[in-house]
């Protein structure tokens, strides 16, 4: 019983934190290190995204992707136009928008940008 009492007393003594004069300074040092870590992480993610974007774009242009995409988008535009005609046969503006493939291109670019944001956000969370 006395042993148990002593052990409890020891736990209480360990739990008592002595007051330290530099408590606030210590906390500020930790906060500064946290801030530095986050800034560095953001810079690394941004730099990696920029480098990845440049490499990806250059690869796309060098591989003749643009021409292939143009052909594919024209095909997609035809399919889209046909589909929209079935839904709204008299809405000519839809046909005008889709016939050039510009909408498909724009949608693709926006999707890539959105994906980029999602990946950057996920990396920040990790």
């Amino acid at each position: 019983m006395a042993e148990l009492d002593f052990e409890r007393r020891l736990e209480r003594l360990f739990a008592e934190a002595p007051a330290m004069a530099d408590e606030d300074a210590f906390a500020r040092r930790v906060e500064r290190r946290l801030e530095r870590g986050w800034t560095a992480r953001r810079l690394v993610i941004g730099a990696a995204g920029g480098v990845g974007g440049v490499i990806g774009a250059s690869q796309l242009f060098m591989s003749g992707f643009a021409e292939r995409m143009e052909v594919a988008s024209q095909g997609s535009a035809k399919v889209l136009t046909a589909g929209l005609r079935e839904v709204a046969p008299h809405a000519d503006w839809l046909t005008v928008l889709t016939s050039g493939g510009a909408v498909v291109w724009t949608a693709s670019v926006l999707a890539v940008v959105a994906l980029g944001f999602a990946v950057a956000r996920a990396l920040e969370e990790i």
Binding site: L10, F14, A17, M20, F26, A27, V30, R33, L34
Partner: protein, 189 residues
């Protein structure tokens, strides 16, 4: 004032803010528990390194803050992280002496008050490294004997021996508790 906003929040609420990336909320947790963590590390024998290890421990805690679910106290959780960080540092620098030896060499007992009684910090200095680490881990960081054995890479029996010897030494050296002191004064009065 952001500080006032955070000071009214419970640790669990602050941790939830920190999970969402709020570093000021985490700063308030550091303000509340920094001294406790640093004191534990000093009691484990970290000395001048205690503050560095404590900083690293809080940074590690921030990285893993999502793992803190409020089942125990935040102080207990971060103390366990700090204790493990310190042990890893000792192992990396090969500064863990042969803790498995039966008779742990200790500093000579420090001078105490008129009755030879001293406080916890001074009492711990009279323990050998193994005794001091085992007692601090089990009574200061909430490790079980088995967890301490695993963390120190020692057989369970050795840890139990260190704790037993450490407790015996501490019981002999620690100043009597307030209640006991009061009783003693009454008896003499």
């Amino acid at each position: 004032m952001p500080g006032a906003r955070y000071s009214s929040l419970h640790d669990v609420e602050l941790a939830a803010h920190a999970v969402a990336g709020d570093r000021r909320a985490f700063g308030e947790l550091v303000r509340r528990h920094g001294a406790g963590v640093r004191a534990l590390l000093r009691r484990m024998g970290a000395g001048a390194e205690a503050d560095d290890v404590a900083q690293d421990a809080f940074l590690a805690a921030f990285e893993r803050i999502a793992e803190f679910r409020g089942e125990g106290t935040f102080a207990g959780w971060v103390k366990r992280i700090a204790a493990r960080q310190y042990l890893r540092r000792l192992q990396r620098q090969r500064r863990l002496k042969a803790l498995a030896v039966e008779a742990d060499e200790a500093d000579p007992p420090p001078a105490g008050d008129a009755d030879g009684r001293i406080d916890l910090d001074e009492s711990l200095k009279g323990l050998g490294q193994g005794e001091r680490l085992c007692v601090s881990l089990c009574f200061g960081a909430g490790f079980s004997h088995a967890e301490a054995a695993e963390a120190l890479n020692l057989p369970l029996g050795t840890v139990k021996s260190h704790v037993k010897r450490g407790l015996e030494k501490l019981r002999a050296r620690l100043a009597p508790s307030d209640g006991a002191a009061a009783q003693g004064n009454d008896a003499h009065g």
